[in-house]
Symmetry: D2
Subunit: 362 residues, 4 copies
Amino acid sequence: MTRISALVTSAPAGGISYKNIDLQVNNEAKAKLKPVYTGLCGTDRMMISGNLPFTYNPKGQDYIVIGHEAVCQVLDIEDNKFNIKSGDYVVPVVRRPGSCVNCRIGRPDNCSDADHDVIEAGVRGLNGFNSEYFYDFPQNLLKINDKTNILINVLTEPTKNVMKAFEIFDKVSERSIFTGSDSTYMQKNCVIIGTGSEAFLYAFMAKEYTMNVFMTNRHSMPEDKMKIIDGINASFFNYKNETMPDYIDLLIDTSGDPETIMRFIRKLNYNGVCILFGTNGAAPGTDYTGIDISYIVEHNIVIAGSVDGSKKHYLDAIKYLNKWKYMPGSAVKYLITGIFSPDETEIFMKKPIEEIKSVIKW
Amino acid sequence: MTRISALVTSAPAGGISYKNIDLQVNNEAKAKLKPVYTGLCGTDRMMISGNLPFTYNPKGQDYIVIGHEAVCQVLDIEDNKFNIKSGDYVVPVVRRPGSCVNCRIGRPDNCSDADHDVIEAGVRGLNGFNSEYFYDFPQNLLKINDKTNILINVLTEPTKNVMKAFEIFDKVSERSIFTGSDSTYMQKNCVIIGTGSEAFLYAFMAKEYTMNVFMTNRHSMPEDKMKIIDGINASFFNYKNETMPDYIDLLIDTSGDPETIMRFIRKLNYNGVCILFGTNGAAPGTDYTGIDISYIVEHNIVIAGSVDGSKKHYLDAIKYLNKWKYMPGSAVKYLITGIFSPDETEIFMKKPIEEIKSVIKW
Amino acid sequence: MTRISALVTSAPAGGISYKNIDLQVNNEAKAKLKPVYTGLCGTDRMMISGNLPFTYNPKGQDYIVIGHEAVCQVLDIEDNKFNIKSGDYVVPVVRRPGSCVNCRIGRPDNCSDADHDVIEAGVRGLNGFNSEYFYDFPQNLLKINDKTNILINVLTEPTKNVMKAFEIFDKVSERSIFTGSDSTYMQKNCVIIGTGSEAFLYAFMAKEYTMNVFMTNRHSMPEDKMKIIDGINASFFNYKNETMPDYIDLLIDTSGDPETIMRFIRKLNYNGVCILFGTNGAAPGTDYTGIDISYIVEHNIVIAGSVDGSKKHYLDAIKYLNKWKYMPGSAVKYLITGIFSPDETEIFMKKPIEEIKSVIKW
Amino acid sequence: MTRISALVTSAPAGGISYKNIDLQVNNEAKAKLKPVYTGLCGTDRMMISGNLPFTYNPKGQDYIVIGHEAVCQVLDIEDNKFNIKSGDYVVPVVRRPGSCVNCRIGRPDNCSDADHDVIEAGVRGLNGFNSEYFYDFPQNLLKINDKTNILINVLTEPTKNVMKAFEIFDKVSERSIFTGSDSTYMQKNCVIIGTGSEAFLYAFMAKEYTMNVFMTNRHSMPEDKMKIIDGINASFFNYKNETMPDYIDLLIDTSGDPETIMRFIRKLNYNGVCILFGTNGAAPGTDYTGIDISYIVEHNIVIAGSVDGSKKHYLDAIKYLNKWKYMPGSAVKYLITGIFSPDETEIFMKKPIEEIKSVIKW
């Protein structure tokens, strides 16, 4: 037993403190890891405010170390087939497989029994990554080969969600010919609802598909954010008062708001796809009518929920972050809008103005 | 110009009459066809009551011959590569391809520009099949090789919708492992909302997938209909007061009613699929909340609209109807609940009690 | 321990005898089964002649009960979730899953480690079905709901191979648009090499796809076999001297003969698919040249090996056999060309003239 | 009519000269283009030596301008929906769509009638890109947004072949679970036969899949080439005398040599995939036996020919080349081993020692 400092909450009650905890050394998990950077996200803040009822502490603890977005350095590790060595940078995965038919093939993101069968670091039943150091198994770690500007790789976990969502898009868009008559996505319009970090990462990826990308929200965009959007040759419109594209081929929601979602579904093109990613249990209800259902039917529209991602999506995330890191202008680096120390716990309670992604440096 | 009797309405105004019309002989369309049986469906009734605003008369006519479900006999036909000859039975397709990227590959059901680019016999801009005889092109006809009990083949057109919907199911269910750990659908629950003819055809097909099939509605089922459900080893529950399965893997809606749809989406399993097929523009709205959206996201659920079907689906429909025709008990034949003559136009206005499918004998 | 009569060989040495063996009662496998009909195939004959080096006896036995094609009746069974009861007819599966990533999802036919990880009833390490009775687990049994003409269901096991092969065809033909511009397979030519039982079952299935089906071999077809081919509206040509179709879209080989296979690959159309199913380790080699490789490349051709099938394919086999059973003319029944008793062991050594499928009645 | 200098041959007879030709100004094709760099490939050399019988001169010409790998600058262009302007860099596509079902959806690489229905710049019936300037249509041009180090983009055309091949791999590997039980390709072995420019580009892409990548040939690798292989963390073995991996999951051939191909197919793992890309009509034949066929069947192996690529693959090529351009070390730039002037026509006849890709600067 060692005492280390950590950021902890009590799930699902909430609260946040930076304090010393007794680290139960897991003798089996022979990788010792030190977080270098961890990211903050909506899930963390909802946990801290006691608004995520499905979260729970690890067995035998009255607290949970929070944080599931991290890039870590390996302090010590047993021999492993992944060729991970001491000193390497790694990203640990959040969700750990259970025994269902999807988990068995390494796809806990598609767990058929997620109510009972999975644990998630920093969220459900397993300590997260915001502690001086921690132990994990080599198979839960993804190695970052490129050690330059490792800060960007703290975005790996949120980016893996985007990779999973586009995998779903690839699958469901095979119902018909989705691409244009030139085989490309160049004339396809992608609208992304929201302007948080995930929304930006979706925009980055939609541009890799060569789509026309539009981000939207119900307020205007500050200059700093517009710089990023311009940097990837995308657009923004305030949907309350600005013109939007005539039709949408791919709609991605990061808001979780039923009213906004339906507003844009009504603009989806034939064979259009809507990816639902954002969640907001507190979002008010809105009327969906028979006309809306008819619209979805007659336009062969698909609406697909997408949650989490598996190791393959982490690898894809690493691949694309690596590309974006080196692109001229490197817009991706502007997604990190603040770097804090672990004791600045107030950022868990109050989102910094114009935050895209806040990061803790360990 | 010849005078023939036909069932006509004026689109989109409505009305119905059985009367003589001048048949414009299309000299290009060298297949002369006589309907043997035509089927009635909700679309016909909505047209007649003036409730389908997107319908319109053929150019230069102030009426449209209604009816898009038919099995016909060929009176005369030019040589064709489909090996269709005089005396053969055929089913004419409804939707005719335009020039979009999907129509080009024979998939007008996925038309990317259906607002402008397609015509539909008996619905939009083209006479339907309820007339003494009519002309069409060989490429719009599907031959029925099995001439026994040809009445069943009047169900080809509604069945092709089911085939298209299951094609969509096949595609979207590839996002994850949908089948059980034994590779089959045997432990999967399929719930079908509605008890009309399409609902029954969906039930027949879901049984071919070896799923557990449940039909549901908000009233009890009369004995005649229960006989069919029993005949295919499916179940029924009244969702207002009877027990339903604990979870649903595949949900198929034929009601178009937002409230009922969401009631069951909330019971969808992880990786579940909801196929929306029914449309009812007059269905009242209902509240979809942030919790509903979160449920769809966290369960990796897909909701897919499915409209129409292409020639390949007509062929699949013929294949399965042929199977069902010969099955011991032959439950499929009980789907046809009434056979009427063309002058009994009141059935267009008033649905016979306990109708599943009403058919007109020509 | 009970003494029962069985057909046994010693793997891989060979030989055949019908004799009494001591049945080791497996107390765990609580389904007691009596074969009703078993089928004979090339694998059986090769085992008996000592020509299948990969076969081996069950552990602790110096013999193996042969036979892997069977329809059985349940004598006694424990409660099970498959709703199989005493008196039911069932087909037992051949290959039993190991622990590889494909076996885990019920796909031992795709076993990633079949050299070490699977056992096969009647072939590798597990007694087959040619014994008075035997024990198995409910999860290895597929129930036949339709009890009429149960003889046809002895074809379930060979038919499941066909279902797996068409699953592969479905997947690999998605590289491009394989269907015609009308979305159907109606103008597509399927050539099947061979005229044994598997070849016929492939022909039956290719007709379900509405392809033009041609069977071929290097001799003429006897009248009995031609009756079956005519019955499903397919064709036959002797490739040594008769005209063949100008091009082939789908080529299926049941011969395992490299020379014949390449003869027809050279006729494959752009985007064509060749399914290799037949195996014949003794088939002589033939020259494949750079021109052949270029042809495959420039025509985007796929050649796919297909072995075995999983429970889902057995279910599909049952579905289609059920359809074919009831079709007018019922050509499928003519595939069974002889019914023998277990003591007529000479049929294992000498193929009856004009055999398609020989069956043993228990 | 203007006189410009160009590199021409006469197809299919061969020969090469750098001389003045009369440029037929195509008044419809309103993009005027100047090549900046063009690449040389085996096809060019085979044309020049008169060994590509399917090549032919444009109608009304007794010569054809050769060259189908180019990055060009736009001198003048009409308004277009692709937002291409004067001064932009573009890559022109080689194959132009005909009217078949695949060409109709922008996939001339999958042309169903390539013997009659497609033309290819610099190869079949259309002048290529090795001339002072030429005219083309905006829809045949792909814009390069990143203007840095434009030389690398001369690799776009050969790289698009790789993208098409991996699209095929993605499709055919869906027959089973191809990835490991962790959902990734990290433990999968990819062997690439050959060490030319295409082989290297395949290696680059296989690394993006995170596979273990092995290049092979029947001689040792010079230091310069090894530097590139090391730079992407791949390996090389001389298959005549060095150890190769125990098993292969993905085999890619760039040699077109039947003997070498079969040597490695015999090492393919269960569910393995072999992509045939290389062509060499002069490669000697080799014996394929019944044992080889059995191996392919019993291992569920797929062998897929892959030719050409469509606009979507050009876009993917541009995407990845852009990534590789900026990667630390930038191994991709070493693929260009020589830059020549148009009058150095001897490089068409004699491959420079240790050439990977020779380029002409215009």
